[in-house]
Symmetry: C2
Protein backbone atom coordinates (compact mmCIF):
# COMPACT_ATOMS: atom_id res chain seq x y z
CA UNK A 1 0.00 0.00 0.00
CA UNK A 2 1.46 3.35 -1.06
CA UNK A 3 1.84 5.80 1.84
CA UNK A 4 -0.60 8.70 1.83
CA UNK A 5 0.37 12.34 2.11
CA UNK A 6 -3.06 13.99 2.25
CA UNK A 7 -6.31 13.18 4.00
CA UNK A 8 -9.54 14.80 2.81
CA UNK A 9 -12.47 14.76 5.22
CA UNK A 10 -16.17 14.74 4.77
CA UNK A 11 -17.62 16.90 7.54
CA UNK A 12 -21.40 16.54 8.14
CA UNK A 13 -21.90 13.24 9.91
CA UNK A 14 -18.23 12.26 9.73
CA UNK A 15 -16.71 14.99 11.90
CA UNK A 16 -19.78 16.67 13.38
CA UNK A 17 -23.12 15.41 14.67
CA UNK A 18 -25.72 17.31 12.63
CA UNK A 19 -28.74 15.49 14.07
CA UNK A 20 -28.62 16.16 17.79
CA UNK A 21 -27.28 19.66 17.14
CA UNK A 22 -30.09 20.63 14.75
CA UNK A 23 -32.78 19.07 16.94
CA UNK A 24 -31.46 21.35 19.70
CA UNK A 25 -31.56 24.33 17.36
CA UNK A 26 -35.13 23.53 16.36
CA UNK A 27 -36.25 23.18 19.97
CA UNK A 28 -34.44 26.40 20.89
CA UNK A 29 -36.54 28.33 18.36
CA UNK A 30 -39.49 27.75 20.67
CA UNK A 31 -41.65 26.68 17.73
CA UNK A 32 -43.90 23.67 18.22
CA UNK A 33 -42.88 20.71 16.10
CA UNK A 34 -41.64 17.15 16.07
CA UNK A 35 -38.03 18.26 15.75
CA UNK A 36 -36.38 14.84 15.45
CA UNK A 37 -38.73 13.97 12.59
CA UNK A 38 -38.36 17.38 10.94
CA UNK A 39 -34.56 17.29 11.13
CA UNK A 40 -34.37 13.73 9.77
CA UNK A 41 -36.73 14.62 6.94
CA UNK A 42 -34.75 17.79 6.16
CA UNK A 43 -31.53 15.81 6.04
CA UNK A 44 -33.10 13.18 3.79
CA UNK A 45 -33.94 15.97 1.33
CA UNK A 46 -30.26 16.94 1.22
CA UNK A 47 -28.87 14.46 -1.32
CA UNK A 48 -31.69 14.81 -3.86
CA UNK A 49 -31.53 18.60 -3.57
CA UNK A 50 -27.77 18.60 -4.17
CA UNK A 51 -28.17 16.23 -7.11
CA UNK A 52 -30.58 18.77 -8.59
CA UNK A 53 -28.30 21.70 -7.71
CA UNK A 54 -25.42 20.02 -9.59
CA UNK A 55 -27.52 20.25 -12.76
CA UNK A 56 -28.34 23.95 -12.35
CA UNK A 57 -26.49 26.38 -14.59
CA UNK A 58 -25.86 28.72 -11.66
CA UNK A 59 -24.18 27.29 -8.58
CA UNK A 60 -26.02 28.03 -5.32
CA UNK A 61 -24.49 27.57 -1.89
CA UNK A 62 -25.72 25.14 0.73
CA UNK A 63 -27.63 27.80 2.68
CA UNK A 64 -29.69 28.60 -0.43
CA UNK A 65 -30.35 24.94 -1.21
CA UNK A 66 -31.28 24.16 2.39
CA UNK A 67 -33.66 27.10 2.72
CA UNK A 68 -35.72 25.52 -0.07
CA UNK A 69 -35.66 22.00 1.36
CA UNK A 70 -36.46 23.31 4.83
CA UNK A 71 -39.52 25.15 3.55
CA UNK A 72 -40.80 22.00 1.83
CA UNK A 73 -40.10 19.95 4.90
CA UNK A 74 -41.83 22.36 7.29
CA UNK A 75 -44.87 22.31 5.05
CA UNK A 76 -44.96 18.50 5.10
CA UNK A 77 -44.79 18.59 8.89
CA UNK A 78 -47.39 21.39 9.11
CA UNK A 79 -44.91 23.42 11.12
CA UNK A 80 -44.65 27.14 10.57
CA UNK A 81 -41.68 29.27 11.54
CA UNK A 82 -40.98 32.97 11.47
CA UNK A 83 -38.27 34.09 9.04
CA UNK A 84 -35.93 34.46 11.99
CA UNK A 85 -36.60 30.92 13.29
CA UNK A 86 -36.08 29.50 9.78
CA UNK A 87 -32.79 31.37 9.47
CA UNK A 88 -31.71 30.07 12.90
CA UNK A 89 -32.09 26.52 11.55
CA UNK A 90 -30.18 27.25 8.34
CA UNK A 91 -27.43 28.94 10.37
CA UNK A 92 -27.54 25.97 12.74
CA UNK A 93 -25.36 24.10 10.23
CA UNK A 94 -22.53 26.37 11.38
CA UNK A 95 -22.95 25.27 14.99
CA UNK A 96 -22.93 21.49 14.75
CA UNK A 97 -21.15 19.76 17.62
CA UNK A 98 -18.10 17.64 16.82
CA UNK A 99 -18.29 13.95 17.71
CA UNK A 100 -16.39 13.40 20.98
CA UNK A 101 -13.33 11.93 19.21
CA UNK A 102 -13.12 14.49 16.39
CA UNK A 103 -10.93 17.24 17.82
CA UNK A 104 -8.29 14.91 19.22
CA UNK A 105 -8.39 12.57 16.24
CA UNK A 106 -7.95 15.40 13.74
CA UNK A 107 -5.08 16.87 15.72
CA UNK A 108 -3.28 13.51 15.74
CA UNK A 109 -3.92 12.86 12.05
CA UNK A 110 -2.64 16.36 11.26
CA UNK A 111 0.68 15.51 12.90
CA UNK A 112 1.44 13.06 10.11
CA UNK A 113 -0.70 14.07 7.15
CA UNK A 114 -1.75 17.21 5.39
CA UNK A 115 -5.45 17.47 6.24
CA UNK A 116 -8.29 19.33 4.56
CA UNK A 117 -12.05 19.39 4.66
CA UNK A 118 -13.83 18.36 1.48
CA UNK A 119 -17.43 19.13 2.23
CA UNK A 120 -20.55 20.20 0.37
CA UNK A 121 -20.73 23.06 2.85
CA UNK A 122 -19.39 26.29 1.37
CA UNK A 123 -16.19 27.90 2.62
CA UNK A 124 -17.89 30.52 4.82
CA UNK A 125 -20.07 27.89 6.47
CA UNK A 126 -17.08 25.60 7.06
CA UNK A 127 -14.90 28.36 8.50
CA UNK A 128 -17.65 29.23 11.00
CA UNK A 129 -18.31 25.56 11.80
CA UNK A 130 -14.66 24.69 12.43
CA UNK A 131 -14.25 27.77 14.59
CA UNK A 132 -17.38 26.86 16.57
CA UNK A 133 -16.06 23.34 17.21
CA UNK A 134 -12.39 24.33 17.61
CA UNK A 135 -11.48 21.89 14.84
CA UNK A 136 -8.20 22.36 13.04
CA UNK A 137 -7.42 21.40 9.44
CA UNK A 138 -4.50 22.47 7.27
CA UNK A 139 -6.87 23.76 4.62
CA UNK A 140 -10.59 24.43 4.32
CA UNK A 141 -11.70 23.10 0.94
CA UNK A 142 -15.24 22.81 -0.31
CA UNK A 143 -17.27 21.62 -3.27
CA UNK A 144 -17.84 25.36 -3.78
CA UNK A 145 -14.34 25.70 -5.20
CA UNK A 146 -15.42 23.39 -8.04
CA UNK A 147 -18.82 25.16 -8.24
CA UNK A 148 -20.45 21.75 -7.81
CA UNK A 149 -21.36 19.20 -5.17
CA UNK A 150 -20.06 15.75 -4.21
CA UNK A 151 -20.03 13.13 -5.58
CA UNK A 152 -19.14 15.02 -8.78
CA UNK A 153 -15.55 13.94 -9.61
CA UNK A 154 -14.69 17.61 -10.25
CA UNK A 155 -15.02 18.29 -6.53
CA UNK A 156 -12.36 15.73 -5.56
CA UNK A 157 -10.11 16.61 -8.50
CA UNK A 158 -10.23 20.34 -7.71
CA UNK A 159 -9.19 19.66 -4.13
CA UNK A 160 -6.31 17.42 -5.24
CA UNK A 161 -5.23 20.05 -7.74
CA UNK A 162 -5.30 22.83 -5.14
CA UNK A 163 -3.15 20.72 -2.82
CA UNK A 164 -0.88 19.43 -5.61
CA UNK A 165 -1.58 15.83 -4.70
CA UNK A 166 -1.96 12.79 -6.93
CA UNK A 167 -5.09 10.74 -6.16
CA UNK A 168 -2.90 7.80 -5.20
CA UNK A 169 -1.25 9.85 -2.47
CA UNK A 170 -4.54 10.87 -0.86
CA UNK A 171 -7.21 9.32 1.31
CA UNK A 172 -10.88 10.26 1.64
CA UNK A 173 -12.29 10.00 5.16
CA UNK A 174 -16.06 9.69 5.34
CA UNK A 175 -18.91 7.98 7.15
CA UNK A 176 -20.78 7.61 3.86
CA UNK A 177 -20.32 4.87 1.30
CA UNK A 178 -21.28 7.06 -1.68
CA UNK A 179 -18.62 9.65 -0.92
CA UNK A 180 -15.98 6.91 -0.63
CA UNK A 181 -17.09 5.17 -3.81
CA UNK A 182 -16.76 8.42 -5.77
CA UNK A 183 -13.33 9.13 -4.29
CA UNK A 184 -12.08 5.57 -4.78
CA UNK A 185 -13.15 5.63 -8.42
CA UNK A 186 -10.62 8.43 -8.88
CA UNK A 187 -7.86 6.55 -7.08
CA UNK A 188 -8.12 7.97 -3.56
CA UNK A 189 -7.92 5.51 -0.70
CA UNK A 190 -11.29 5.04 1.04
CA UNK A 191 -11.25 5.43 4.83
CA UNK A 192 -14.62 4.65 6.40
CA UNK A 193 -15.55 5.98 9.83
CA UNK A 194 -18.43 4.27 11.60
CA UNK A 195 -20.95 6.80 12.90
CA UNK A 196 -23.79 4.54 14.08
CA UNK A 197 -25.46 7.48 15.85
CA UNK A 198 -25.56 9.74 12.80
CA UNK A 199 -29.31 9.14 12.40
CA UNK A 200 -29.91 8.86 16.14
CA UNK A 201 -30.00 5.89 18.54
CA UNK A 202 -32.77 4.18 16.54
CA UNK A 203 -31.55 5.20 13.12
CA UNK A 204 -29.91 2.93 10.56
CA UNK A 205 -26.14 2.52 10.79
CA UNK A 206 -24.47 3.01 7.41
CA UNK A 207 -22.47 0.02 6.21
CA UNK A 208 -18.96 0.38 4.78
CA UNK A 209 -18.75 0.08 1.00
CA UNK A 210 -17.13 -2.93 -0.62
CA UNK A 211 -13.98 -1.30 -2.01
CA UNK A 212 -10.39 -2.40 -2.50
CA UNK A 213 -8.00 -0.92 0.03
CA UNK A 214 -10.85 0.10 2.35
CA UNK A 215 -9.86 0.92 5.88
CA UNK A 216 -12.58 0.98 8.53
CA UNK A 217 -12.32 2.73 11.90
CA UNK A 218 -14.83 3.31 14.68
CA UNK A 219 -13.66 6.85 15.41
CA UNK A 220 -11.13 9.40 14.17
CA UNK A 221 -8.87 8.58 17.11
CA UNK A 222 -9.06 4.90 16.16
CA UNK A 223 -8.11 5.91 12.60
CA UNK A 224 -5.13 7.80 14.06
CA UNK A 225 -4.15 4.66 15.99
CA UNK A 226 -4.41 2.51 12.89
CA UNK A 227 -2.33 4.94 10.82
CA UNK A 228 0.32 5.15 13.54
CA UNK A 229 -0.26 8.84 14.39
Amino acid sequence: MKPMRLLLFDVFGTVVDWRSSLIGTGEATGAEGDWPAIVDDWRRAYQPALAKAREDSTWRDLDAVQRDTLDDCLERHATSLTGEQREALVRGWRRLRPWPDSRDGLERLRSRYLTATLSNGHVALLADLLKFGDLRFDAVLSAQLAASYKPDPAVYLTALDLLECDPGDAGMVAAHAGDLRAAAALGLRPLFIRRPLEWGPDGPAEQPPDLDGLLVAGTLTALADTLGC
Copy 2:
Protein backbone atom coordinates in the same frame (compact mmCIF):
# COMPACT_ATOMS: atom_id res chain seq x y z
CA MET B 1 -15.27 53.03 13.50
CA LYS B 2 -17.42 50.02 12.52
CA PRO B 3 -16.34 46.81 14.28
CA MET B 4 -14.59 44.26 12.05
CA ARG B 5 -15.57 40.61 11.77
CA LEU B 6 -12.84 39.32 9.46
CA LEU B 7 -9.09 39.89 9.23
CA LEU B 8 -7.27 38.98 6.01
CA PHE B 9 -3.50 38.58 6.25
CA ASP B 10 -0.72 39.08 3.80
CA VAL B 11 1.84 36.35 4.51
CA PHE B 12 5.31 36.87 2.93
CA GLY B 13 7.04 39.56 4.98
CA THR B 14 4.01 40.21 7.18
CA VAL B 15 3.72 36.84 8.95
CA VAL B 16 6.93 35.09 7.87
CA ASP B 17 10.52 36.23 7.35
CA TRP B 18 11.32 35.25 3.76
CA ARG B 19 14.77 36.86 3.69
CA SER B 20 16.73 35.14 6.45
CA SER B 21 14.94 31.85 5.69
CA LEU B 22 15.81 31.88 1.98
CA ILE B 23 19.40 32.98 2.61
CA GLY B 24 19.67 29.92 4.83
CA THR B 25 18.14 27.74 2.11
CA GLY B 26 20.60 29.13 -0.44
CA GLU B 27 23.57 28.52 1.82
CA ALA B 28 22.33 25.02 2.62
CA THR B 29 22.44 24.09 -1.08
CA GLY B 30 26.23 24.24 -0.78
CA ALA B 31 26.43 26.31 -3.99
CA GLU B 32 28.85 29.24 -4.00
CA GLY B 33 27.09 32.59 -4.21
CA ASP B 34 26.36 35.89 -2.51
CA TRP B 35 23.13 34.58 -1.05
CA PRO B 36 21.89 37.77 0.66
CA ALA B 37 22.31 39.65 -2.65
CA ILE B 38 20.75 36.84 -4.70
CA VAL B 39 17.74 36.51 -2.39
CA ASP B 40 17.15 40.29 -2.32
CA ASP B 41 17.41 40.45 -6.09
CA TRP B 42 15.05 37.49 -6.48
CA ARG B 43 12.51 39.11 -4.19
CA ARG B 44 12.78 42.42 -6.06
CA ALA B 45 11.84 40.54 -9.24
CA TYR B 46 8.66 39.30 -7.53
CA GLN B 47 6.33 42.27 -7.99
CA PRO B 48 7.17 42.94 -11.66
CA ALA B 49 6.85 39.21 -12.42
CA LEU B 50 3.42 39.04 -10.77
CA ALA B 51 2.32 42.19 -12.59
CA LYS B 52 3.23 40.42 -15.82
CA ALA B 53 1.58 37.17 -14.70
CA ARG B 54 -1.69 39.04 -14.06
CA GLU B 55 -1.75 39.93 -17.77
CA ASP B 56 -1.18 36.36 -18.97
CA SER B 57 -4.17 34.54 -20.36
CA THR B 58 -3.27 31.37 -18.41
CA TRP B 59 -2.80 31.70 -14.67
CA ARG B 60 0.47 30.23 -13.39
CA ASP B 61 1.20 29.54 -9.74
CA LEU B 62 3.90 31.21 -7.69
CA ASP B 63 6.32 28.29 -8.04
CA ALA B 64 6.20 28.60 -11.83
CA VAL B 65 6.63 32.37 -11.77
CA GLN B 66 9.48 32.17 -9.27
CA ARG B 67 11.37 29.51 -11.19
CA ASP B 68 11.63 31.99 -14.07
CA THR B 69 12.71 34.93 -11.93
CA LEU B 70 15.22 32.76 -10.07
CA ASP B 71 16.84 31.66 -13.31
CA ASP B 72 17.22 35.28 -14.46
CA CYS B 73 18.56 36.28 -11.09
CA LEU B 74 21.11 33.46 -10.91
CA GLU B 75 22.34 34.44 -14.36
CA ARG B 76 22.80 38.06 -13.26
CA HIS B 77 24.78 36.85 -10.26
CA ALA B 78 26.80 34.39 -12.36
CA THR B 79 25.70 31.63 -10.00
CA SER B 80 24.85 28.20 -11.33
CA LEU B 81 22.76 25.64 -9.54
CA THR B 82 21.79 22.06 -10.26
CA GLY B 83 18.11 21.43 -10.93
CA GLU B 84 17.81 20.04 -7.44
CA GLN B 85 19.40 23.09 -5.80
CA ARG B 86 17.15 25.41 -7.80
CA GLU B 87 14.08 23.43 -6.72
CA ALA B 88 15.24 23.57 -3.08
CA LEU B 89 15.12 27.36 -3.32
CA VAL B 90 11.67 27.42 -4.94
CA ARG B 91 10.41 24.99 -2.30
CA GLY B 92 12.11 27.15 0.33
CA TRP B 93 9.07 29.44 0.16
CA ARG B 94 7.18 26.67 1.97
CA ARG B 95 9.67 26.73 4.85
CA LEU B 96 9.85 30.40 5.77
CA ARG B 97 10.16 31.04 9.50
CA PRO B 98 7.40 33.02 11.20
CA TRP B 99 8.40 36.30 12.85
CA PRO B 100 8.73 35.72 16.61
CA ASP B 101 5.36 37.34 17.38
CA SER B 102 3.36 35.69 14.59
CA ARG B 103 2.12 32.47 16.15
CA ASP B 104 0.96 34.06 19.39
CA GLY B 105 -0.42 37.15 17.67
CA LEU B 106 -2.46 35.11 15.20
CA GLU B 107 -3.83 32.89 17.94
CA ARG B 108 -5.00 35.93 19.93
CA LEU B 109 -6.49 37.65 16.90
CA ARG B 110 -8.32 34.43 16.00
CA SER B 111 -10.03 34.47 19.40
CA ARG B 112 -12.02 37.55 18.38
CA TYR B 113 -12.01 37.62 14.57
CA LEU B 114 -12.43 35.23 11.72
CA THR B 115 -8.93 35.07 10.20
CA ALA B 116 -7.71 34.04 6.76
CA THR B 117 -4.59 34.29 4.70
CA LEU B 118 -4.83 36.34 1.54
CA SER B 119 -1.51 35.73 -0.13
CA ASN B 120 -0.10 35.54 -3.63
CA GLY B 121 1.19 32.12 -2.65
CA HIS B 122 -1.04 29.35 -3.96
CA VAL B 123 -3.11 27.15 -1.65
CA ALA B 124 -0.71 24.18 -1.68
CA LEU B 125 2.24 26.41 -0.86
CA LEU B 126 0.33 28.15 1.94
CA ALA B 127 -0.89 24.90 3.48
CA ASP B 128 2.69 23.62 3.61
CA LEU B 129 4.01 26.93 4.92
CA LEU B 130 1.45 27.24 7.71
CA LYS B 131 2.07 23.65 8.73
CA PHE B 132 5.83 24.23 8.77
CA GLY B 133 5.43 27.29 11.01
CA ASP B 134 2.55 25.89 13.09
CA LEU B 135 0.46 28.92 12.18
CA ARG B 136 -3.31 28.70 12.50
CA PHE B 137 -5.88 30.59 10.45
CA ASP B 138 -9.60 29.92 10.11
CA ALA B 139 -9.27 29.67 6.34
CA VAL B 140 -6.43 29.47 3.82
CA LEU B 141 -7.31 31.80 0.95
CA SER B 142 -5.09 32.75 -1.92
CA ALA B 143 -4.98 34.93 -5.02
CA GLN B 144 -5.14 31.58 -6.81
CA LEU B 145 -8.85 31.34 -6.04
CA ALA B 146 -9.35 34.45 -8.19
CA ALA B 147 -6.83 33.15 -10.76
CA SER B 148 -4.95 36.41 -10.36
CA TYR B 149 -2.47 38.17 -8.07
CA LYS B 150 -2.68 41.05 -5.62
CA PRO B 151 -3.24 43.95 -5.91
CA ASP B 152 -5.94 42.98 -8.44
CA PRO B 153 -9.26 43.93 -6.76
CA ALA B 154 -10.67 40.54 -7.82
CA VAL B 155 -8.36 38.85 -5.31
CA TYR B 156 -9.76 40.76 -2.33
CA LEU B 157 -13.34 40.56 -3.60
CA THR B 158 -13.14 36.80 -4.13
CA ALA B 159 -11.91 36.32 -0.56
CA LEU B 160 -14.69 38.50 0.84
CA ASP B 161 -17.24 36.62 -1.24
CA LEU B 162 -15.97 33.21 -0.07
CA LEU B 163 -16.23 34.36 3.55
CA GLU B 164 -19.55 36.19 3.04
CA CYS B 165 -18.14 39.41 4.38
CA ASP B 166 -18.80 43.00 3.32
CA PRO B 167 -15.61 45.01 2.74
CA GLY B 168 -16.58 47.37 5.56
CA ASP B 169 -16.60 44.47 8.03
CA ALA B 170 -13.08 43.32 7.11
CA GLY B 171 -9.51 44.43 7.74
CA MET B 172 -6.41 43.75 5.66
CA VAL B 173 -3.24 43.12 7.67
CA ALA B 174 -0.02 43.71 5.76
CA ALA B 175 3.50 45.10 6.06
CA HIS B 176 3.22 46.56 2.56
CA ALA B 177 1.64 49.87 1.61
CA GLY B 178 0.55 48.72 -1.86
CA ASP B 179 -1.46 45.80 -0.51
CA LEU B 180 -3.21 48.07 1.98
CA ARG B 181 -3.92 50.75 -0.60
CA ALA B 182 -5.60 48.20 -2.87
CA ALA B 183 -7.64 46.77 0.01
CA ALA B 184 -8.62 50.19 1.37
CA ALA B 185 -9.79 51.29 -2.08
CA LEU B 186 -12.40 48.52 -1.82
CA GLY B 187 -13.46 49.54 1.68
CA LEU B 188 -11.40 47.19 3.85
CA ARG B 189 -9.74 48.70 6.89
CA PRO B 190 -5.94 48.94 6.46
CA LEU B 191 -3.88 47.49 9.32
CA PHE B 192 -0.15 48.08 8.84
CA ILE B 193 2.43 45.92 10.60
CA ARG B 194 5.95 47.32 10.83
CA ARG B 195 8.52 44.77 9.69
CA PRO B 196 11.73 46.83 9.64
CA LEU B 197 13.84 43.68 9.24
CA GLU B 198 11.97 42.40 6.16
CA TRP B 199 14.88 43.44 3.91
CA GLY B 200 17.52 42.70 6.54
CA PRO B 201 19.22 44.83 9.20
CA ASP B 202 20.52 47.29 6.59
CA GLY B 203 17.49 47.18 4.32
CA PRO B 204 14.91 49.93 3.94
CA ALA B 205 11.96 49.92 6.35
CA GLU B 206 8.65 50.28 4.53
CA GLN B 207 6.60 53.27 5.60
CA PRO B 208 2.88 53.01 6.37
CA PRO B 209 0.60 54.37 3.64
CA ASP B 210 -1.37 57.56 4.18
CA LEU B 211 -4.87 56.11 4.40
CA ASP B 212 -8.00 56.99 6.37
CA GLY B 213 -8.67 54.64 9.27
CA LEU B 214 -5.12 53.24 9.13
CA LEU B 215 -4.02 51.36 12.20
CA VAL B 216 -0.29 50.79 12.70
CA ALA B 217 1.25 48.13 14.96
CA GLY B 218 4.82 47.01 15.53
CA THR B 219 3.95 43.30 15.73
CA LEU B 220 0.94 41.00 15.46
CA THR B 221 0.82 40.75 19.25
CA ALA B 222 0.77 44.54 19.46
CA LEU B 223 -2.10 44.50 16.96
CA ALA B 224 -3.91 42.02 19.22
CA ASP B 225 -3.33 44.37 22.18
CA THR B 226 -4.68 47.35 20.24
CA LEU B 227 -7.77 45.43 19.13
CA GLY B 228 -8.41 44.18 22.66
CA CYS B 229 -7.80 40.49 21.94
